[in-house]
């Protein structure tokens, strides 16, 4: 290995890259656009109304209450609580989402549910709420009535104040109707404390994985088809440039590109979306392994499709499904289970998931597992790629 030759080729690749708007666009501008665009789409919060999850431990009794109460609250509803939901939805500010009994049947389950679904606002109506409320009204003793609990994510201040004001207004109005303004219906608030991940936290590692994939596969395809067709590989064979040096130079450049893209993507994510990134060794190993894995796949593609125009199309056949099915744009959990199984066969999934675990979630075990998978995959595929690529014309 002659470092001077490797450096020469690296510099040439770099100049070629910087002078080519196409590659610059796809390795830098395109991922940045993706992040700005998708980040914006998912952070807009759904057009002005806030989802208010409701866990009602007293829904069954709503029919009895409706019978006891005067029409002014229950209206045409046969269940008191349906009337409440309708009123709240009617404000246009909140959207009621019922947490079904089949999903959550106890307070312990509720806690887990709120955490796992990363809910931001939940209204909890306690067991026998209606009975106790009725009892309090009958005894004209407001302290007998239990509190409704609002669980609120403390980081969402604006959202919380809007929800609180909607609920206060509704309860105030109800109290006026029921008992001339005395506070029979009351609520308290509790905090939802959870590490909060936005879509952008999910998306940025995916875009990095995606960019590493496209850079590597298409980079290899260019050097293996265009350079072959243009006689550059033949020319280099007549010089002292060895194949090992050539591979080394190209891989170093590919890693360089992968890291530059990663860096730019992270910077934009931090600047625009307040992304919080953990830098660690897994991240680097994942990006390096990913680059080798996808470079190896590119070599295997050009072993079978040698033509400069059709090789990228063949590569698209591989990269396109991965882009959409490997959990880059949407979490795997959102996809049907058979697609989730398919995703597990895609290297991009492990790079994306591993980067997410390493950079965002700080999940060392997850990061390690994904790193091992992609590292082994890269070792095998890259070795096959080198073995099947002939620089020589036979």
């Amino acid at each position: 290995m002659n470092p001077k030759i490797i450096a020469t080729d690296f510099v040439a690749s770099l100049k070629n890259y910087l002078r080519n708007r196409g590659t610059l666009f796809f390795s830098i501008a395109f991922p940045v656009i993706l992040i700005l665009l998708f980040g914006a789409i998912y952070s807009s919060g759904g057009g002005g109304s806030y989802e208010l999850y409701v866990k009602n431990f007293d829904y069954e009794n709503g029919m009895i209450i409706a019978g006891m109460m005067n029409d002014s609250i229950a209206g045409n509803f046969t269940n008191f609580y349906d009337a409440v939901y309708a009123q709240l939805n009617g404000t246009g500010v909140v959207k009621i989402r019922i947490i079904k009994d089949s999903e959550v049947s106890s307070r312990k389950e509720l806690q887990d549910y709120v955490e796992s679904k990363k809910l931001k606002s939940v209204m909890v109506i306690p067991e026998n709420y209606g009975m106790m409320l009725g009892l309090a009204i009958a005894n004209e003793n407001a302290t007998l009535a239990p509190n409704v609990t609002l669980m609120l994510d403390q980081s969402e201040m604006q959202r919380n104040s809007i929800i609180i004001s909607v609920i206060s207004q509704f309860f105030g109005k109800s109290n006026l109707i029921i008992a001339g303004g005395e506070n029979f219906m009351r609520f308290n608030t509790t905090n939802i404390v959870q590490e909060k991940f936005d879509y952008i936290d999910f998306f940025v590692p995916g875009v990095i994985a995606l960019t590493v994939m496209t850079n590597s596969i298409f980079g290899v395809i260019e050097s293996n088809t265009k350079f072959r067709k243009n006689g550059i590989l033949r020319k280099l064979l007549t010089t002292p440039f060895t194949r090992a040096e050539w591979i080394m130079a190209k891989m170093l450049f590919m890693l360089f590109m992968s890291f530059v893209s990663t860096f730019v993507i992270i910077i934009v994510g931090m600047a625009v979306w307040n992304l919080n990134v953990h830098f660690n060794a897994y991240m680097f190993i994942l990006i390096i392994s990913g680059s080798f894995a996808f470079a190896g796949m590119g070599m295997i593609v050009t072993r079978f499709v040698k033509d400069e125009e059709t090789a990228p199309a063949a590569a698209n056949v591989i990269t396109f499904p991965m882009m959409f099915l490997a959990g880059i744009f949407f979490p795997l959990e959102m996809m049907p289970s058979f697609l989730q199984v398919i995703a597990k066969f895609m290297p991009l999934y492990y790079v994306g998931q591993g980067l997410r675990d390493a950079m965002i979630f700080g999940d060392a075990a997850g990061a390690l597992a994904n790193t091992i998978v992609i590292f082994l995959f890269a070792a095998v595929v890259f070795a096959i790629g080198v073995a099947v690529t002939s620089w020589k014309e036979e």
Binding site: A12, N16, R19, I232, R234, K235, L237, T238, T239, P240
Partner: protein, 305 residues
């Protein structure tokens, strides 16, 4: 004299096809050696085996006295190659391109010197992709010189160029010979071989069908040039010329004299004037490599010129 290249019984087989069929030849140091033949003759296959980048099926090749199989590395340092249909890195300038290739070798000469020789100085900062076809090929020739090679291989360096651009490339190649380089030129243009080559090997279907200098080939395989004397006393003239050792005969009332040496024409005309034999009109019919090729193979060398 020592040979730059020695090829013995070289054969390359692709499946059922003998792309190169048991050929042997030698290239002398310092000469421009042309491999002339139509597309598919086996020229590229042969040069690339000499350049160490394809493996022969059979046969032996020595480059600068060294066996290509054993001394691949040493040979690569000492040869310069312009592959067929070569297109260099699109987004490097001429200077950067030469620097790139120059860095690959242990030995290199000054890039400015090369640009002077090939006349590229005023284009040194142009991107390769923006150059005309002729300039690209000249850069290709320049690239083949960066390691100050003993042998320069040029595989069809002017294919696809217009006549003017072709001239420029020819001048660049002629300059190499002056530098004392051995040039191995591959072409299917007979004018190119005629203009540049000291020795020519004609290749057809994997075989070398004839080899020699231009004059030797034309003498041996061409119809030769013929001097025609029209009008006057044909019989008398033919007799006189035959007496003096010329190959003359009367055809349709004209005298036809086969010309062996190029300067024979003047000798003949002087001789006839001395003898006082007059004629009305003189005409010369030339033979060229095209004739040679046609006579050897029964086929035309190339459709285009």
């Amino acid at each position: 004299m020592e040979c730059a290249i020695e090829v013995e019984n070289l054969t390359k087989v692709y499946g059922d096809l003998k792309a190169v069929d048991n050929i042997s030849f030698k290239v002398k140091k310092g000469e421009v050696f042309a491999f002339l033949g139509p597309n598919g003759a086996g020229k590229t296959t042969t040069v690339e085996m000499i350049e160490t980048i394809r493996s022969p099926t059979r046969g032996r090749i020595k480059v600068l006295g060294q066996d290509v199989k054993k001394s691949t590395k040493e040979i690569k340092e000492r040869i310069g190659v312009l592959p067929q249909e070569f297109i260099s890195f699109e987004r490097l300038t001429v200077r950067e391109t030469l620097k790139y290739f120059s860095n690959l070798y242990k030995k290199h000469i000054d890039i400015d010197e090369i640009m002077d020789i090939i006349d590229l100085k005023d284009k040194e900062n142009e991107l390769y992709m923006n150059l005309s076809g002729g300039l690209k090929q000249r850069v290709g020739v320049a690239i083949a010189l960066v390691n100050d090679p003993d042998i320069v291989f040029l595989d069809e360096p002017t294919t696809g160029l217009d006549p003017r651009a072709r001239r420029d490339v020819w001048n660049a190649i002629a300059g190499l010979k002056k530098q004392g380089k051995t040039v191995f030129l591959t072409t299917h243009y007979m004018e190119e071989a005629e203009y540049l080559a000291d020795s020519i090997a004609i290749m057809h279907r994997g075989r070398i069908v004839a080899e020699g200098t231009l004059d030797e080939l034309i003498q041996k395989y061409g119809k030769r040039s013929t001097l025609l004397l029209k009008g006057g006393r044909a019989e008398e003239a033919a007799e006189a010329l035959k007496e003096n050792g010329y190959d003359a005969e009367v055809v349709d009332g004209d005298v036809e004299i086969k010309i062996v040496k190029r300067d024979a024409v003047l000798d003949i005309l002087f001789y006839l004037r001395e003898k006082g034999i007059s004629y009305r009109e003189v005409d010369i019919r030339h033979s060229d490599l095209e004739d040679v090729f046609l006579n050897l193979t029964g086929e035309k060398l190339a459709e285009e010129t």
